[in-house]
């Protein structure tokens, strides 16, 4: 017992020493000399906080909190039993009701964050087709988002085409881009695939950046129209632009629902099973009759379509696009959502998007240290829940369930 306790505190001391070695160079090395005060102040706060947490953890281990834990366990168990009884459709209806009612009890800022979350949910689910289902690493996914955004931007500004018409067009262009990027990588695996997709992602951004005559380069494209609808005003149909955040929220919500339904149905179809077979064992899949080259190309194209749809909305919402929005860090962000949430799991990816977009907003107060906390959370997650927040369920229920 004492040995284990001392080992724990030794680990604590080691971790704190490591933390200081990491922190001090960041805060203490200045152009006009070295400084210890600022870094020490932060370090000591973190050290005290973690010492308290560690102490509490030990007390819990010893059983000092038995008086709260035991009743809590009983309540938890009862709640779990009730939750298990609730049919899936009730839970889904509840979520849908909250999503629809959301704009009524929140304000502009929350609408803004929610729209971002929904855009990233579509991106995450699209990338999930490629990474989670087909098992192909793609580090340049945001390129398809860019293709979608620029397709709508150009068609809207130069030809005045409507948002609704541009949605399928942008999806189609993104799918073509997906095939172009996918084709040369079909015979690659692992590391090579990662590097090539990373390269293609950058190529798309650089082309957008330098093709001045078409894309206006780094200055971007201004004056993109919001989605419009025809509205009955009593006398006749009147064209109206959906400019307000609430209206945009409902549009992206509808797109997200479409994406979720489409991805779910794909997942539970012959195509989805072929994707998974390719992920599990490509050679065996080919030998069992799956045209693996075609299926992989299809995975890229389908993933790209959702990226393109999200991009179209993004352009319509911002009314401005520039190459800056499509950097590698965005690809990394979307990939993090998929991995953090749980590869191949639809609720997991949704949860991942909410976590990575909404939580940093909550932590705005930390401002400077946001990315620091972000990195820490990611590292911790991968250690403690390597399969993601909500791992894909594979215990039979998937293929056994009937609708």
């Amino acid at each position: 017992m004492t040995i284990r306790v001392s080992k724990l505190w030794f680990g604590y001391a080691l971790a704190m020493a490591w933390f200081y070695v990491l922190l001090w160079p960041l805060l203490g090395i200045k152009a006009d000399g070295l400084e210890f005060g600022a870094s020490f102040a932060i370090w000591s706060k973190v050290a005290v906080a973690s010492a308290i947490l560690l102490g509490l953890y030990q007390l819990k281990k010893v059983g000092a909190f038995g008086f709260v834990e035991r009743p809590a366990k009983v309540v938890g168990k009862a709640a779990g039993a009730v939750a298990a009884r609730v049919p899936t459709w009730v839970a889904l209806a509840l979520v849908a009701a909250v999503a629809v009612a959301f704009p009524f009890f929140t304000e502009r800022y929350a609408h803004d964050v929610a729209i971002s979350v929904l855009v990233y949910i579509i991106l995450g689910l699209g990338l999930n087709v490629v990474v989670g289902l087909a098992g192909l690493l793609d580090l340049g996914y945001i390129a398809f988002f860019g293709v979608g955004a620029y397709t709508y931007a150009l068609l809207s500004v130069h030809f005045g085409l409507s948002f609704w018409l541009c949605l399928p067009i942008a999806g189609g262009f993104a799918a073509i881009a997906g095939c172009i990027i996918g084709y040369p990588t079909l015979r690659m695996r692992g590391d090579y695939l990662a590097i090539v997709t990373l390269g293609f992602g950058e190529i798309v951004r650089i082309v957008i950046n330098n093709w001045m005559s078409l894309t206006n380069g780094p200055n971007g494209i201004l004056g993109i129209k919001a989605p419009g609808i025809y509205w009955w005003n009593g006398k006749g149909f009147e064209h109206m632009l959906l400019n307000s955040l609430e209206q945009l929220y409902y549009i992206i919500l509808a797109l997200a629902v479409f994406t979720i339904v489409a991805v779910y149905r794909l997942n539970h179809s012959r195509i989805g099973r072929a994707f998974e077979a390719v992920r599990e064992d490509q050679t065996a899949a080919e030998l069992m009759g799956v045209d693996t080259l075609r299926i992989k190309l299809l995975a890229y194209a389908l993933g790209a379509v959702f990226g393109g749809l999200a991009g179209t909305f993004f352009a319509a919402r911002m009314k401005f696009v520039s190459p800056e929005s499509f950097t590698f860090i965005e690809s990394a962000m979307v990939l993090s959502m998929v991995v953090l949430g749980g590869m191949g799991s639809i609720p997991g990816v949704i949860l991942g998007a909410v976590t990575l977009i909404a939580l940093p907003e909550v932590f705005r107060g930390f401002e400077l240290y946001r990315m620091f906390v972000f990195g820490g959370v990611m590292a911790g997650m991968m250690i403690f829940r390597p399969k993601g927040l909500w791992p894909a369920k594979r215990m039979g229920a998937r293929s056994e369930e009937r609708e």
Partner: protein, 254 residues
């Protein structure tokens, strides 16, 4: 009719001559055994037939169609399915899903059908499930349909591989050491099962080390040693063939 015909197949891996002028046939209704010491090239024969390896010389024909230029999934679609010496199931999928994948080449519905849940897709999905359950039942795996492949016992995984191959609706099936690692009771079951597969009208080519199994069910045997066919004939002829005895005894002395 559905004859699998190998004529003068040779395969090289760099400096290694893995197969030299191998020729034999698997005819309608046949159960052919392919035997030989380890490293003789038996699995290589399977890989050549199924399109994993290219031959450096010779032809494989199925129903008269040369298989040379075809990719593996096309060869499977023609009706030649196989199992693997080292089990290669889709580990993170359920038994039923594993078998359902095998129906891929017999079904058509694409992305649009799946996303829109068209009636044709629902019908097809129902048929896939029906056929797959039948294949599982045939291999006595019905109760494991929802089990994850990686959680199944070794003997069950071997059976699941055969179920998966059967679900591709083959006319010829290649079994690579199906009894490897099975206990005597399981081996006996397997012999019985192979007989039932043959009764379905499926031609069988099998690699097997267990001589009891091979001599018990094969009507025709091909013996390979160092990539060369050293004998071919009925089981009782093979058992008496001096070159076969030498190859096996010589191998044991090493």
């Amino acid at each position: 009719m559905a004859t699998l015909e190998l004529s003068e197949i040779s395969v090289r891996f760099g400096g290694l001559q893995a197969l030299t002028d191998v020729s034999f046939c698997v005819r309608e209704g046949d159960i052919v055994g392919l035997i030989g010491p380890n490293g003789a090239g038996k699995t290589t024969v399977f890989n050549v037939i199924t399109g994993v390896y290219q031959t450096s010389a010779g032809q494989v024909r199925y129903d008269g169609t040369p298989l040379r230029a075809l990719r593996p999934h096309k060869i499977l679609a023609l009706g030649v399915a196989r199992t693997f010496q080292n089990i290669r199931l889709f580990q993170n999928m359920t038994a039923l899903e594993n078998v359902m994948v095998a129906q891929h080449c017999r079904t058509r519905v694409g992305v649009l059908g799946a996303v829109l849940r068209l009636p044709s897709q629902k019908r097809e999905e129902e048929r896939i499930r029906q056929r797959s359950l039948e294949a599982l039942e045939f291999m006595d795996l019905g109760e494991f349909a929802g089990e994850l492949a990686s959680n199944m016992a070794y003997g069950l995984q071997r059976r699941l591989e055969i179920a998966r191959a059967l679900a591709t609706e083959p006319k010829t099936i290649l079994l690579d050491e199906p009894a490897a690692g099975l206990n005597p009771a399981e081996s006996r079951d397997l012999m019985h099962t192979i007989g039932r597969i043959s009764e379905l009208g499926i031609n069988i080519l099998m690699v097997e080390h267990d001589m009891k199994v091979v001599m018990g069910i094969c009507r025709h045997i091909v013996v390979l040693d160092h990539g060369v066919m050293i004998a071919e004939g009925k089981p009782e002829e093979i058992q008496r063939d001096p070159r076969v005895i030498e190859a096996y005894l010589g191998n044991e002395l090493n």
